[in-house]
Structure formats: structure tokens, C-alpha cells
Subunit: 123 residues, 2 copies
């Protein structure tokens, strides 16, 4: 499969992409527009990480405020390296700031997430 | 993004792939091997359908028997056409036979699924 990465197309074989990280997101109605804006203007910090292949954000059609953030990695190690990288903080800083601001004001947390990882079984 | 389809690579723009169908699968432990086998040897009937882009099956890492079957479509109409096509029956006939056999024997249904659809928000 070809993926677009860092301004070029790279060919990724089945065995290259073996780790999939999925964040199941639930947003308050008041936060949906902001959440979508954050991803549409994302820092692309993740795109430079070794082992990162591609990602997308998908929005559930029959229920407001439900999303999946799906990223594909060469392996679990490359994903774990991203989780502890400066690029992770850079990529999440606006969202983290929103959460902190809500907590400071005593408001409900605008976004919740449930995180799971997967292995690609077949295409 | 490039996808591999019908023995050739096709270029798919963001706006081409706007509909994602996800089947959240839970298998009994006794059925997991068979479930994986069915997809590894799938009929590829779906691959010929207009508007079908690509699909994959991913397996949850921290819980046995949990899978997502994810397919990407140009739009909802192409997905709906697949759902009512002879290729849909062809592609599912072995799985449907397994379910029918379990029911006939009075055994627990070996696989349950929860189906949701999504729109691609961003890459």
C-alpha cells in the first residue's frame, strides 16, 4: 500500500504496518467544533517520527461527538517512542491546554478518550 | 493516498474516501481461529464493487476475540449498494453458514458484531 508521508509517497508492505493505535473520543457538544479544528490544523509533529505511517480522524455518523483517531505504525516500539517524545507534547499542547483550562474553571472535561491498540490481521 | 485494488495501485484523494464502515466483532475463543481463517482466505468479492477502496481487519492487542473490520468507500451509496449485492452474500456465505450451524445445534452464536459508519474528517 502507498501512503503519503512528508511530501512523498512511500510504499508500505503489509508486514511494515503492523501496529494500529485507536483513540475512541467522546466530545461534549460544545467542544466538537474545537476538536475538529484542532485536527484540521494539527501540528503534523507526529509525521516526522520514525515508524509512523499514516493517520486519520473519522467521525461517527449516527451519534454526535464520537470520533476515532487512528494511527498506523511499523511496530509497537515506534509507537511507544512517539508517546514519550517531545513531538507528542507538541502535537497535543492545544488540546491539553483546553483540558487544563476546563479543570481550572471547574467545568466538565470537554473530551474523553479510550485508547486501544490493534495488530493488522489481513487486508 | 494510494490504495492497492484489483491488482493495480489507484490514487485516492481525500474527498474520494469519505465513508468508513466499521464492524466491531467479538468472537468466542473457540471461534477466533476460524474467524481469522475466513478473512485470510476471503472471497475478495467486495474488491470488485464500484466505490470500494480498501479494507483491513485489525485485532485488539489487550483482549482476546475483539476485532474491527474496517472498509473504506467513496460514499455511502456505494456501501449501501454492496450491502444489497450478490457479492455481499458471496463474501459472507461461510460465516453465515457457521452462524446457522450453531443455531441448529442450539450452541451459542460464535460471533457478535456491532456496526457503525463514519465520515473521514481529516488526515
Amino acid at each position: 500500500m502507498f501512503f503519503y508521508k512528508q511530501n512523498r509517497y512511500i510504499y508500505i508492505t503489509f508486514s511494515d504496518a503492523n501496529f494500529v493505535a485507536v483513540n475512541f473520543i467522546t466530545c461534549l457538544e460544545s467542544y466538537q467544533e474545537r476538536f475538529e479544528e484542532l485536527f484540521k490544523t494539527r501540528a503534523h509533529a507526529i509525521d516526522t517520527l520514525p515508524g509512523f505511517l499514516t493517520m486519520h480522524v473519522i467521525r461517527q455518523n449516527d451519534e454526535e461527538g464520537k470520533y476515532m483517531v487512528v494511527s498506523y505504525w511499523e511496530n509497537e516500539e515506534s509507537f511507544k517512542a512517539w508517546m514519550t517524545s517531545p513531538e507528542f507534547l507538541e502535537g497535543h499542547k492545544r488540546g491539553f491546554a483546553d483540558m487544563a483550562a476546563a479543570r481550572e474553571k471547574g467545568e466538565p472535561v470537554p473530551m474523553k478518550s479510550e485508547f486501544k491498540t490493534y495488530s493488522i490481521l489481513t487486508h
